[in-house]
């Protein structure tokens, strides 16, 4: 049985500034010295989006600092080190950028990114993000519900799944020369997951244009699933009646399932998923079923054995 959790944050979940500072103190303590050092200022500054909406779906937890969100990334198209994307993604050109919608839709269509952005007012969604590796962040995304786009193109009756295909340009993405994954990166959702109001296409971060290393110009965000479900730098969205065979399923079918819902009760074969380290915190936290979004999404999976459909 799934434990129903409150929609939003309990006060104890908020990272108090004091805890954050304590960790810094701790690390300074480790070094055994009390000199002060200036942090380098963040290098990437995006253009600000004007007039965006707040959303009731946002958590009130303290967002992870911009610097961490933009320097600690898994984006294998630019290399497998977490620091690679911030260093190498600047070569990627995100304008002009087309996103084509294909497959079982009434209106197959290709959108220029700037037209897609204008399709609906952008909303700020402050979401928890839980990586399959056991760390998490709180990220203030800017985006639009994926449902808005899907309703616009009208899925056909036979549609059961939505596939997301990322860019894979060897000229600007050095990582695709390596065979770590089967390129282009491919992810997928069931249609009802894709239509869920929590599922968004993000185009911004911290009120600004999405930095390249975070999946510019357009990426998927599904906050109750492990982070890798959020395909980055999307060029194609395909509606289909077959369950997509995703890049990570191909890489390790025993380790990565199609659903990949955050679930502390189902361990990765090689490591535990019971706890996570929130970036910026010292102690680990317990991981919540569906990353704390159980109340909103557990209903999508009633009657399913989540140990089997992991």
């Amino acid at each position: 049985m799934l434990i129903q959790l409150p929609a939003d944050t309990v006060p104890s979940e908020i990272t108090p500034r004091a805890v954050f500072d304590k960790r810094r103190e701790f690390l300074k303590g480790l070094a055994g010295t009390a000199l002060a050092a200036a942090l380098p200022k963040s290098a990437c500054a995006g253009e600000k989006f004007s007039a965006t909406l707040k959303s009731p779906w946002s958590t009130t937890e303290t967002p992870t600092p911009y610097k961490s969100v933009t320097t600690y990334n898994n984006f294998y198209e630019f290399g497998t080190e977490k620091t690679d994307p911030a260093q190498l993604a600047q070569r990627m050109k995100t304008r002009p950028w087309q996103i084509s919608i294909e497959g079982l839709v009434k209106h197959q269509k290709s959108f220029a990114i700037d037209d897609l952005i204008k399709m609906a007012p952008l909303e700020e969604r402050i979401y928890r993000m839980r990586c399959v590796e056991g760390w998490s962040m709180v990220i203030p995304w800017l985006g639009l519900p994926l449902a808005t786009l899907l309703k616009h193109v009208e899925p056909q009756g036979a549609t059961k799944y939505v596939e997301f295909i990322s860019a894979a340009d060897p000229k600007t993405m050095p990582g695709v020369a390596s065979a770590v994954l089967d390129w282009p990166y491919l992810e997928g959702l069931r249609l009802d997951e894709a239509m869920h109001p929590l599922t968004i296409l993000a185009v911004g971060l911290y009120g600004e244009v999405l930095p390249n290393q975070n999946g510019a110009p357009l990426r998927l965000v599904v906050p109750w699933k492990y982070g890798f479900k959020g395909a980055k730098s999307i060029v194609k969205i395909r509606l289909t009646d077959r369950e997509p065979w995703t890049a990570w399923m191909k890489a390790g079918p025993r380790e990565y399932g199609f659903y990949s819902n955050v679930n502390p009760a189902v361990d990765h074969p090689r490591w535990s998923q019971a706890t996570e380290r929130r970036i910026g915190e010292f102690a680990k936290r317990r991981t919540l079923p569906f990353n704390g979004y159980a109340e909103q999404v557990a209903g999508l999976y009633t009657g399913m054995d989540l140990q089997k459909f992991f």
């Binding site: 690390l27 070094a31 050092a37 942090l39 610097k67 497998t80 010292f282």
Partner: protein
């Protein structure tokens, strides 16, 4: 190269090496204080300590082939310190796991050691290091006798192998670095096997020759 001629020169060399071996740890301490270890400093510290454990194991294993190839016999006098540093970093790596990763949750730790092959293997490597560290003093070498001591310390080959397997099994997808370590270790162990085989052949040839000369003597 002549190498350090006197005991005093060797002592100086050892002091320099002692400090050099602390550099990775000092860099971590500096980085932690300077907040220069990235967004996830705890992971960085833990991984860096693991990498340096493996580095020191391989460096220690390089001493004897390097001595043989170069003829610098004094290198052997530095080996114990390098091995002990491997143990030192392994201990810090283990502590970082017990403390920063698991926060002394002994139940979770026990489960991890039993259930996660990469932890099982890492823990085995560490346990095997303990007797080596415990028998590193001159007194212990004397008590065990050179031959038995040497036999015991051959387990370092297994330890380094377990270390590489541990690394291989923990990476999510990109096995480039563990593969590089595996290749280096293969080289270090391979050259030993080769020399041992050549030595064996030389000895059997020598024995045959000996027999023949014996028979030929009137």
């Amino acid at each position: 190269m002549a190498g350090p001629a006197t005991a005093r020169q060797l002592a100086a060399l050892k002091r320099i090496l002692f400090v050099l071996c602390l550099v990775p740890l000092l860099r971590l301490a500096w980085g932690a204080w300077d907040d220069a270890l990235g967004a996830n400093p705890i992971e960085f510290i833990q991984r860096s300590l693991g990498s340096w454990t493996l580095n020191f194991l391989l460096i220690t294993l390089t001493v004897s082939p390097l001595r043989r190839l170069s003829g610098w016999h004094w290198l052997l006098r530095l080996r114990r310190m390098l091995g002990l540093y491997a143990f030192f970093y392994a201990m810090l790596h283990l502590v970082s796991y017990l403390w920063l990763d698991q926060f002394f949750d002994w139940q979770a730790i026990a489960k991890d050691i039993l259930k996660r092959p990469f932890i099982t293997v890492g823990m085995s490597a560490f346990m095997l290091l303990l007797p080596l560290a415990a028998t590193s003093s001159d007194a212990m070498i004397r008590r065990l006798g050179g031959r038995r001591w040497q036999q015991l310390h051959r387990s370092v080959y297994a330890i380094a192998t377990l270390g590489v397997v541990h690394y291989w099994w923990l990476v999510k997808r990109d096995t480039t670095l563990p593969a590089l370590y595996a290749a280096l270790l293969g080289l270090l162990l391979g050259i030993r096997a080769l020399w041992r085989e050549l030595e064996r052949q030389r000895q059997t040839a020598g024995a045959d020759l000996g027999k023949r000369t014996l028979r030929n003597t009137p």
